[in-house]
Symmetry: C2
Subunit: 537 residues, 2 copies
C-alpha cells in the first residue's frame, strides 16, 4: 500500500509514467491509490478544544476550505479571525462553473460560462467518497444536500488506439472486458487446482472450496471448469417478453484481451479514494463553499492580495494590496494561518526560516485541466444507455457523464480531465481550440452526434489559474521525507494549512483536516504562552 | 448463461436451494442471474402500430403496469380500453408505503403505515437497472424524476453465523473479503504462471501480460508476486493531515477466507439485473404508477373484482363484482387483455381451453416478504459510514439502507427481504411479531441502537396480498418448456400480459414489455378480421 510495503525503490513518478504509457490516464489514477498517494479517510469531527481566546487575533490567508474551516472553528473559541481573500468569492478551488461564471487565466484569457440555466460543471473538486468524514461533517452541519456521483459504470465505453489491440479504434463496453478477464483467470486457476498444481499448498477441502468460489466468481461451467460467458458481460439479444429468453453473448478470446491495455485498469478492490458510495452536492460542489460562507462570510475581506509576510515569535504582519484601489496596508495579528497554495506562497516575499522556505518550494504542483461540454441532448443516455460514470480511453482523457438531471433535456459532460504534459499542451490552446480538441476526442467515441449536439464549453487549466497555480500539491517520496514534516510545524507565529499539508492531497478533506490539525496546534501554542490580543489593524 | 449453456441437467430450483444453503439469500439472487432467470433488458420503445381501431373495445383486467401500458398504447389507436381494477388504487404491485398507506392481507390483518411524513418504503419493486429501457421510456414520458439506488456498497457489513467461519457472529466490512480474495487468487495464478504451469497454454509474451495484469488487479508485490493487502480493503488508520500517512491493514489468512461463505456471493461481473446504474423514482416507486394514472386514470374502474371470464372467437364477457355495492354485472368487449397474476387467475372461473388453463396453473408464485423500519437516527450513516447498499448475512435476509435523504434526520431501512420457507414462516407472524423478528435480526449486526432508534415498521408478505398472491411468477424450466409458450398466444379473444409473460419475471419491464408484445398481437388479430365494436355494456 506504500512504497516501503511494496519493497521497491522505484520512484513514484517513474512508476506512474510507466503505467501511464501502458494504460492511459485511468490507470494512473488507479495506481495512485495503491501507492498511498491519493488515499484518504477523514477524521470524524473537528478537535474538541477547551478554553477561550477572547481578544486573540488570528489572521487567515485564503477563504478556501482550509481557511474557512479555521475561521469557523477558531472563532467559536473567541479568536478574532479575519480572512484575507484575493479572489472576490469564497471557496478557493472549490468552484462550479455555471451561467455567468467568469475565469481569467494568468495569460489574460477570460472565459465567461454560457451554459443554460440549470447546467453546471464542477471544474475543481467533483467527488466526495463516503469515508471523507470531515467533508461530510460540514455538508451535514451546513445543510448541503447531496446526491450520488456515479463513479463506476461498466456499461460505459472503453476506447483505445494501440498496436496489437484487436479493438483499437473501436469502442466497446467495459463490462465485456471485466467479465471475460474474471472468467478466464478463474478458469486458469481452477484448472491448475484441478490438475494438482496446488496440492502442496492447499488441503483437499480448501482446494474444493477454492474451485467452488472460482466457478461462482468467474461464471465457469462446473463440470468442465470452462468460461463460456456470463450474463453480466451483456447479451447479444436481451431476454424479453413472450418467448424470447435472450441470446447470450460469446466471450472474447483470452489472447486478444491480454493485448488490450484496458485490463491494466481493473482492480479486485476499487482504490480507496475511488470507492462507492460517492457524492456530489446538489447543484454543484460550490454549495460546500457557500455553506461555509454562510457561517463565516462576515469575516472575509475580498480582493485582498497578500504581497508580503513577516512572522516572528511575537506575531505576524501581513502586507496586503487591495486589488480595486491598488493600495497596500499592513495587517497585524497574534497568529497567522496561511492556506495559500505553496505554488503561490513560494513567490510571496516573506521572512521564513531557511528550512521552512525550502520546504515550501519542495513539492511540484499538478498541471491539470478540465473541460465541461454542454450538449443539447443526452445522447449518452438516450442512445448508449450510459447513466453517469466514465468512458475510459488511452487518448488523453476519460469522458465523464453527468450524475444529475437524469433523463433531462440537456446535460453537461466532462469532456476531458488531463494531467502532466497533456494538460500543459492543451492549456496552451485558446478556449475555442480547447473545445475543438475536446470535441475531436469525444467524436472518436461517440461519432458525429458529439459535434451536432454540442452547445457550449467551459474549460480550466489549474496551473494557469491565479492564486492557485496548479491543481494540488504533488509530493515526491523524497520531498515528503526531507521537507514536508517541517511545514506541519509553525514558522514563528505562522501555521500552514491546506490540502498540501496532508496525505489527502487534492481532496477537500485534506484541506479541512489540515485545518483541524493546525488550529489545535495553534490553540495549544497560544495557551502555553497566555497571550493577549495585539492592537487592531 | 442458460441451463443448456452450462451443459447440466440440474434443476434450477435444486441448484438455487443448494446455493441458498451454502451462501444465503444474496447468493440465490446472484445465481438467478447466471441461470437467466431474473435477467432482463428491455426493448427501447412500444411497438409502432399502424391503422385505427375506432369503435373496437378491449377490456383490460388489472390497472398494474401491464394493464395501464396496454390501455395507454391501445387507446392511441382508437381502441376503447376500460380497465377493471379490484383495488381502489392503480399500480398493481408497484406500491410504496408511506404515512396512511393501508394493507390488509388475506388473513384479515390490517396494517396502516405510521411512518413520518417524508419517509417511504418501496415494498414492491424497488430498483430500475439502466438497461430496463421500457421502464425508463415511461419515467421519461411521464416526467418521473429519478435518483440513484445504491445497489452495491462494499463498505456495508457482512454478518454470518456458520461453523468453521472464524468471523461467525462478528460483522466485518465486505471490502476486506472482496479485496483479499482478489489478491490471493491473483497471487496463486501469478505464481503458477511464474513457475511454468501455463507454459503449454500461453506464449511467453502472454504470460508476461497476464502476470502484469494480476499484479495490478490483485495488488501484488511485483517482485515476489505476493499479496500483502491493498488500500481498497481499508486502512487500520486512515491517511490524514500532517504527518499521518495512514496505517495499512493486514489481509486475512486465505484459509480463513475460504471458510467464509460470503465469498460465494462474489462475482467478477455483477449479474445482469443487478448492474449499475440503478435507479428509483424520487419519492417512491409508485411515482411510476401515478405517472401512468395521470395518462389513463380516466379509464380505470376501481373496486371491480373479476368473478368470471368467458372468452370465445367473437368476444369476451367478464363478470365483475362491485366491491362496495356487492352487485355483479357483465362487461362485454371485442377483446380482453388480462393482466391478473396467474396465482389469482387460476382461481377465477373461466371457460379457458384445457391447455391454456393448465398453463395458467403451471408456474409457482414467489413467497416473499419485506419489512420497512423507520429509525429516528441514521446510525448506519453516522456511526458506520454506510450510505446505501446492502449488509449481507446468512441469517435469513440482507439489510438495505435507504438511497434518499442522505444525512437526513431519520431514515427507513429494508429490515428484511425474504423468500421461500423463511418468507412463509415470517408471514405467519402478526405485524408486531414481524417487527420484533426484524429488530432481532438487525441487532445482530448493529447492536442495541437498532432497537433504541426504531420508530415504526411496515411489512408485506406478497403471497398473502389479495389480488397478488405472490411476488412474481416462478417458472421451472419444465414449465417454461411445456406450458409457458401457450400463454403467449390468445385463448379465444383473451390475451394475457404481465411480468409472468416474460423472461424478466419480477421486474416492471417484464410487465411493460409483455404488454407491448401482446397489444401488437391483438392489433394484428383485430385487423386481420376487420372487426367492429360490440354493443357496450
Amino acid at each position: 500500500m506504500t512504497d516501503d510495503r511494496n519493497g521497491t525503490s522505484m520512484k513514484r513518478r517513474d512508476f506512474l509514467r510507466l503505467l501511464g504509457a501502458a494504460g492511459g490516464t485511468a490507470m494512473v489514477f488507479g495506481a495512485m491509490d495503491a501507492w498511498g498517494l491519493a488515499s484518504a479517510q477523514s477524521a470524524e469531527a473537528p478537535p474538541s478544544l477547551d478554553g477561550r481566546a477572547d481578544g486573540k487575533r488570528v489572521i487567515i490567508l485564503g477563504a478556501g476550505l482550509a481557511g474557512m474551516t479555521s475561521a469557523f472553528e477558531l472563532s467559536k473559541l473567541g479568536y478574532e479571525t479575519p480572512i484575507l481573500e484575493a479572489r472576490d468569492f469564497a471557496g478557493g478551488r472549490v468552484q462550479t462553473a455555471r451561467r455567468g461564471f467568469t475565469l481569467t487565466e494568468v495569460t489574460g484569457v477570460t472565459q465567461r460560462c454560457t451554459f443554460d440555466h440549470g447546467q453546471h460543471f464542477n471544474h475543481g473538486p467533483w467527488r466526495i467518497p463516503y469515508h471523507h468524514r470531515s467533508t461530510l461533517h460540514y455538508t451535514n452541519l451546513f445543510d448541503v444536500p447531496l446526491h450520488i456521483m456515479v463513479n463506476d459504470n461498466d456499461n460505459a465505453w472503453d476506447y483505445r488506439e494501440e498496436e496489437g489491440n484487436p479493438w483499437s479504434g473501436e469502442r466497446r463496453r467495459r463490462r465485456e472486458f471485466t467479465a471475460d478477464m474474471g472468467g478466464y483467470t478463474s478458469q486458469l486457476l481452477a484448472k491448475a487446482v484441478d490438475q494438482g498444481a496446488l496440492d502442496q499448498e492447499l488441503s483437499e477441502d480448501d482446494r474444493e472450496r477454492l474451485v467452488n468460489y472460482l466457478v461462482l466468481y468467474g461464471g465457469l461451467d462446473r463440470d468442465e471448469l470452462e468460461y463460456r460467458g456470463v450474463a453480466g458481460r451483456g447479451y447479444d439479444e436481451d431476454p424479453g417478453p413472450g418467448t424470447n429468453p435472450g441470446v447470450p453473448s460469446d466471450p472474447h478470446a483470452f489472447g486478444d484481451l491480454l493485448r488490450n491495455s484496458v485490463i491494466n485498469g481493473f482492480r479486485a478492490a476499487e482504490g480507496h479514494t475511488q470507492k462507492n458510495t460517492m457524492f456530489e452536492p446538489v447543484g454543484g460542489m460550490d454549495a460546500i463553499a457557500k455553506g461555509f460562507e454562510r457561517a463565516v462570510g462576515g469575516m472575509i475581506h475580498y480582493g485582498q492580495e497578500v504581497v508580503e509576510i513577516q512572522t516572528n515569535d511575537d506575531g505576524v504582519v501581513v502586507t496586503v494590496e487591495d486589488k480595486r484601489s491598488g493600495e497596500t496596508r499592513e495587517v497585524e495579528a497574534d497568529y497567522c494561518i496561511c492556506t495559500i497554495p505553496l505554488s503561490v506562497l513560494s513567490q510571496i516575499p516573506a521572512n521564513f526560516s531557511t528550512d521552512f522556505a525550502a520546504a515550501i518550494r519542495a513539492p511540484t504542483y499538478a498541471t491539470t485541466g478540465k473541460m465541461g461540454l454542454q450538449f443539447g441532448r443526452r445522447f449518452w443516455e438516450e442512445d448508449d444507455h450510459i447513466y453517469g460514470g466514465h468512458t475510459t480511453t488511452n487518448i488523453g482523457t476519460n469522458i465523464t457523464y453527468p450524475s444529475y438531471d437524469w433523463q433531462g433535456e440537456k446535460g453537461t459532460v466532462l469532456g476531458y480531465y488531463n494531467f502532466g504534459s497533456t494538460a500543459i499542451e492543451v492549456s496552451a490552446m485558446s478556449p475555442e481550440e480547447r473545445i475543438r480538441y475536446a470535441l475531436e476526442l469525444g467524436k472518436k467515441v461517440h461519432g458525429d452526434v458529439y459535434e451536432r449536439a454540442f452547445e457550449s464549453g467551459f474549460s480550466v487549466a489549474w496551473h494557469l489559474v491565479p492564486y492557485s497555480l496548479g491543481g494540488w500539491a504533488s509530493w515526491s517520496s523524497d520531498a515528503r521525507r526531507d521537507h514536508y514534516p517541517r511545514l506541519t510545524e509553525p514558522d514563528g507565529r505562522l501555521f500552514l494549512a491546506g490540502e498540501h499539508l496532508s496525505y489527502m492531497t487534492g481532496w477537500m478533506s485534506g484541506a479541512i483536516e489540515s485545518a483541524w490539525l493546525q488550529i489545535e496546534k495553534l490553540h495549544e501554542h497560544a495557551h502555553a504562552r497566555g497571550l493577549a490580543g495585539v492592537s487592531r489593524a
